[in-house]
């Protein structure tokens, strides 16, 4: 199968027209600070720049990309910067919904549906005695006079183990959160694929059109 049909998932490609008088070296000089980050290595040869990033810092403006090639090509209308970048983060985010759908299936397979209370009581013998005592206690939860005076609602008279009770306890894990996260990551992928494409384009454009790094240093 030709990977090109699906590699748009984690590959970002684009091009930017350079200013008419801008040389290849000048363009790469302006982009150079982007490749001077921790964990980034790069090589420049004959109008081509190849970079690799490993364990890039969160503060790196290109941290979402792990590898890329930038090439300056001369056309009839002037020079053009073409870039081809790859991102494992985008691929991971694309696959994450599948993983969470798998977790949902796993949850349903592992967590057995709750049994009716009577059946549980019949099966669990002594242990259920303790919980029955606890439930009985729940029915007589004392209320401090201070809470009465301040108007707090009286505690419920029924032990609600198994229902929507306190904290995490009393409720079996359900596959719903996994489905929710599958949806969140699907949405995040669409946002990220569009956003990161635009951000890197804007970053390159700003660098190429802005003051060169040498003149900026001189000005500083």
């Amino acid at each position: 199968m030709n990977l090109r049909f699906i590699d748009w998932i984690w590959h970002v490609r684009g091009s930017l027209a350079l200013a008419p008088e801008q040389s290849c070296d000048d363009a790469f000089d302006r982009l150079d600070p982007l490749f001077q980050q921790t964990g980034t290595s790069h090589e420049r040869t004959n109008g081509t720049l190849v970079f690799r990033k490993k364990d890039q810092a969160a503060q790196d403006k290109m941290s979402v990309f792990d590898w890329g090639i930038l090439r300056v090509e001369k056309g009839s209308a002037g020079s053009v910067l073409r870039y081809h970048l790859t991102s494992r983060a985008l691929l991971f985010c694309f696959l994450a919904p599948l993983m969470f759908l798998g977790i949902a299936q796993f949850t349903m397979a592992v967590v057995k549906p709750e049994q009716p209370t009577a059946e549980v009581a019949g099966k669990s013998g002594k242990a259920s005695d303790a919980s029955q005592k606890a439930a009985a206690k729940h029915a007589d939860v004392p209320m401090n006079p201070i809470d009465k005076a301040l108007g707090a609602p009286a505690p419920e008279k029924s032990g609600k183990d198994g229902a929507d009770g306190p904290g995490k306890r009393g409720k079996k894990p359900s596959p719903t959160p996994a489905y929710v996260f599958a949806g969140i990551f699907a949405a995040l992928y669409v946002i990220g694929r569009i956003l990161e494409d635009r951000l890197v384009r804007a970053l390159f454009r700003k660098r190429l059109l802005g003051p060169s790094s040498s003149s900026a240093r001189f000005a500083a």
């Binding site: 810092a57 977790i103 206690k137 401090n144 419920e156 306190p166 079996k172």
Partner: protein
Amino acid sequence: MDGIRVGKRVIGTQAPVTVGWENIPRVEGGPLKRFFFTWFQPTMLFALLAFWYYAPNSIAKASTAIGIGIGFKVLLLGLEWVNPRFDSWRLTWKELVTDLFYVGLGYTLLRIVDDYIGSDVMVKALQGHFHADKFTWFMALPLLVQAFLISFIFDFGQYWMHRGMHNWYPLWLPHSVHHYITQLNINKGAVGNPVELFLIGLGVGGFFDFVPRAFLLAGAFGMAIGTYQHINVRFNSPRWWRFLFNTTEHHSLHHSQDYESTRSNYSGAYIFIDRMFGTCIDGEAELLGMEGGRRMSIREQMTYPFTEGWKTIRERFGRPVAAPLAVPAE
């Protein structure tokens, strides 16, 4: 770097840190903004406590607490956008995806594990073992006292577990991964190796949750105080707040690239526990992480404790490799 002497130790010799409240920047902007970011934390705490104290039984449920928790985090993400503590900690798409991956694990796989071997099981077993009527005295305490005790006992346990993680190598291995984060954002508390996330969640504070409302109030204490450990928002926390409670300032120091600073501020919510045991340092840091700020990939975060542990075992117990004989230079 010279560092700063704090008690018996010198901190900030390896990376810049700020020590002392008087040296920490304040919220900048108009009076409304300063007012908002001064009183936001106490207002939210008291509002949440009042809500859980007076909510009818039909509303005071775990599902409501989960909904409020999610809504509160979304609100705080908005505050990160409006008033960041450091621009270098701004949330990026990649950081958000990474953080939410761990949040997702917490809500799904870790939840299942907890259900079988976590603190929930421990607490259930303990409650089954001890006769419930021995604790009527606890249930008769005022709700807020019960809630505070539940959250305090949990935090006290977490303090020692966390301190243990920084002092005992087998526990440090799973916890070390969490220290590779290079910035603080609202979901960064969830980032870490699943083994560590399981360990840090162990606690028997829930042992005293006989009254559902007290347990929900205890959750409100945790949410309205502990959440600010990992957040990129500049607050003017009132003096009493930062004396009693853990703040972003305290926790940023704990995550600093300076080793000695990381050995401080272990508690999750109540910084006075650190004050009691002499491990509190009031200050903040911007440069966070390990190995000079190397960001660890998710794959490495998952495997690091095991690969590092295996390396250490091999170094200690493995067959020594015969060193080549040194030939003196002529």
